[in-house]
C-alpha cells in the first residue's frame, strides 16, 4: 500500500552570517535513502525525535513535497505527480493544524468535502451519521471550526478525512495536546476503523501510549534514516536492560549521538 525505495529529500538552507554580505547555502538532508513497505490493513507507528524527518516523510507520502531522489508509491500512485488522484484514496489528519475550513461551521466543511471528493449523497449521509455517532460530533456540528475545542476539532478532522472512505489513512501527531479522555476516544475509534474496514494506517506521534495501544508495527527514524523496523515487542526486546518503552526509545534516540542543530524550514 505504501512503498518507499531509496527516498531522499534535501533542503537548501540559506543563512546570512553577521557582517558578511553573501549568504551561504548549505544542503540539509532531511531524509536519506529511506526504504520501507507497508501492506494493506497494517497499523504502523512512525516514531522519531524532533527534526528526524518524520513530517518530511509524511509530506512526501501525501504528495505535498517532491522527493529529491528515490521512488514512492502510495496506493500504486506516485504522490507528487498524481496528487489529485491520490487525494481521493487518502485520508490525512494533521494534529497541529486543521484541514477544515476555519470560518465555516463543521457541517459546511463536511458538505464541501463531500462535493470536492465527489462522494455520493446517500453514501455520504450514512457515513456521516455513523461518524457523528462514533466520534460524538452531534453537539458541535453547527459550530464554526475556529470556535471548537482542540478535542472537538481533531475529531472533526478525523471525520472529514474518512468521509470518502479512503483505503489509506495518514495521521501526523493526531493525539497531540489532547486530554486523557479525548485521547482514549480517538485511539478507540482509529482501532475500529483499522479492524473493521481494513484501512491501512500510518501514524506519527511522540506519545508512546499511542504506539503501545494501537500499533502492531513500529518504525523509528533518526537523522533521516530508518533506525528500527519491527513489532512493539521486538522494540522492547532490543534494549533488554530497559523496562519501559519510553526508556527504550530514549536510548535509541540518544545513541544516535548529538544531532546537528535544527535547520530552519522543512526539516521538522
Amino acid at each position: 500500500m505504501i512503498d518507499l525505495d531509496g527516498v531522499g529529500r534535501t533542503f537548501v538552507v540559506r543563512r546570512r552570517r553577521p557582517g558578511r554580505l553573501r549568504r551561504e547555502s548549505r544542503a540539509v538532508e532531511a531524509v536519506r535513502d529511506l526504504s520501507f513497505h507497508v501492506s494493506p490493513g497494517e497499523f504502523v507507528g512512525y516514531l522519531g525525535p524532533n527534526g528526524a524527518g518524520k513530517s518530511t516523510t509524511i509530506k512526501m507520502l501525501i504528495g505535498i513535497l517532491t522527493p529529491t531522489s528515490g521512488r514512492i508509491r502510495v496506493a500504486g500512485l506516485d504522490p507528487s505527480r498524481r496528487r489529485t488522484t491520490l487525494a481521493r484514496n487518502l485520508g490525512v489528519v494533521f494534529g497541529q493544524r486543521t484541514t477544515l475550513w476555519w470560518d465555516l461551521p463543521l457541517k459546511d466543511s463536511f458538505e464541501l468535502t463531500r462535493l470536492l471528493y465527489k462522494v455520493d449523497r446517500e453514501r455520504f449521509r450514512r457515513r456521516l451519521d455513523e461518524l457523528c455517532e462514533r466520534l460524538d460530533l452531534g453537539g458541535f456540528i453547527d459550530t464554526p471550526v475556529r470556535q471548537l475545542s482542540l478535542g472537538q476539532r481533531v475529531r472533526g478532522d478525523i471525520a472529514a478525512a474518512l468521509l470518502h472512505d479512503p483505503p489509506v489513512l495518514v495521521l501526523d501527531e493526531p493525539t497531540i495536546g489532547l486530554d486523557v479522555v479525548s485521547k482514549a476516544a480517538v485511539r478507540a475509534f482509529l482501532r475500529e476503523v483499522n479492524a473493521e474496514r481494513g484501512t491501512t494506517v500510518l501514524l506519527t506521534t511522540h506519545d508512546l501510549g499511542d504506539i503501545e495501544r494501537l500499533c502492531r508495527r513500529v518504525m523509528l527514524i533518526d537523522h533521516g534514516r530508518l533506525a528500527f523496523d519491527g513489532t512493539v515487542d521486538e522494540l522492547r526486546a532490543s534494549v533488554p536492560e530497559e523496562s519501559s518503552i519510553e526508556d527504550v526509545v530514549a536510548r535509541i534516540y540518544l545513541s544516535g549521538g548529538v544531532r546537528p542543530p535544527m535547520a530552519a524550514g522543512g526539516t521538522g
Binding site: A87, T99, L116
Partner: protein
C-alpha cells in the same frame, strides 16, 4: 476544465453564503469598494477640466481605455486577486491542507474567502465604459474587438497574478514585488500609454505585455495612429499575447509547486 470550474464555483458559493450572514457589512463593503474606485475617475475628470485632451485623446476616449482595462483588471482581481496572499498561506501551513484535497490549490487559494464586495470594482469600471461608449463616435464595425480585448486583458492580468503567486514559492516574503506588476499594471493601463515615455511603452509591449490589455486593441477600436509608430499588426495581437502569458503562467505555477518546501512542522 469543467471539473475545475465546478470546484471554483462551489468554493465561491460557500464563501458568499458565509459572507451573506452579515448583509449590512457586505452592502457597506461593496458600496465602499465602488466609491473608492470612483475616485479614480474623478481624477480623470479633474485633468480634463484643465485640458481638452490628454496626449491627444479626448475624455470619452480616455474613459474608454480606462473602462476596458478596468473591467479586465477587476474581473481578474475578482477571480485570482487572492493569489497574492500565497506567501501567507504557505507560512501558516494552510497551503498544505489545500494540497491534500483533490482540487487545484491555485483555485482553492483564488476562491478562498471570496467576498461579493469584489463585484464593486467590476461594476464601477463597467459604468465608466457604458458612459464612454455612446460618446466615442467610433465605427461600430470595429466594436467586435471590445469583448476580445476585455477577455484578453483578463487572461493577461490573471497570468501576471499567477506568475507573481508562483514566485512566492521561492520568495515567500515578497508579495510587494508582485503587487508592482498586478496593481501597478492595473494603474498603468488606466491612462493612454502615450502619456508615458517611449521606453516604458516598449517595455509593457514586449516584456510585460500590458499594452495588449487595452492600448493596442484600443487604438484599433478608436482608429488612431500609434504615437510610437509600432507595427499595425500589433493591434490584433492581444489574444496571442494572452495565450503566451497563460502558457508561461501555467509553467511558472507548475515549477513553483514542485519547489514547494512546506513549513517546519
Amino acid at each position: 476544465m469543467i471539473a475545475n470550474a465546478r470546484v471554483y464555483l462551489l468554493l465561491v458559493a460557500t464563501w458568499m453564503r458565509a459572507a451573506a450572514q452579515y448583509p449590512g457589512s457586505l452592502a457597506l463593503l461593496t458600496l465602499g469598494s465602488f466609491v473608492v474606485n470612483a475616485l479614480d475617475i474623478a481624477a480623470i475628470w479633474i485633468i480634463f477640466a484643465h485640458t481638452p485632451e490628454l496626449a491627444g485623446f479626448t475624455l470619452p476616449e480616455v474613459m474608454f481605455l480606462y473602462g476596458t482595462a478596468g473591467v479586465s483588471f477587476a474581473l481578474a482581481d475578482m477571480f485570482a486577486g487572492n493569489t497574492d496572499k500565497i506567501g501567507s498561506y504557505i507560512r501558516s501551513g494552510a497551503f498544505d491542507t489545500m494540497m491534500i484535497r483533490p482540487a487545484s490549490p491555485f483555485l482553492q487559494v483564488a476562491a478562498d474567502r471570496f467576498s461579493p464586495q469584489r463585484f464593486g470594482r467590476v461594476g464601477q469600471a463597467a459604468v465608466v465604459l457604458a458612459i464612454a461608449l455612446p460618446r466615442l463616435g467610433i465605427d461600430w464595425s470595429r466594436a467586435w474587438m471590445i469583448p476580445v480585448m476585455i477577455v484578453s486583458g483578463f487572461v493577461i492580468f490573471v497570468a501576471i497574478w499567477t506568475i507573481a503567486g508562483a514566485a512566492q514559492f521561492l520568495l515567500t516574503d515578497a508579495p510587494e514585488v508582485a503587487n508592482a506588476f498586478t496593481y501597478g499594471g492595473g494603474q498603468l493601463t488606466q491612462y493612454p500609454l502615450s502619456v508615458y515615455g517611449g521606453e516604458l511603452v516598449r517595455a509593457v509591449t514586449f516584456i510585460v505585455p500590458l499594452a495588449f490589455v487595452n492600448w493596442q486593441p484600443g487604438l484599433y477600436v478608436l482608429d488612431r495612429e500609434d504615437p510610437l509608430g509600432l507595427p499595425y499588426a500589433l493591434r490584433f495581437a492581444s489574444p496571442a499575447a494572452a495565450l503566451i502569458m497563460a502558457l508561461l503562467a501555467a509553467l511558472a505555477w507548475r515549477a513553483g509547486l514542485r519547489r514547494y518546501r512546506s513549513t517546519g512542522s
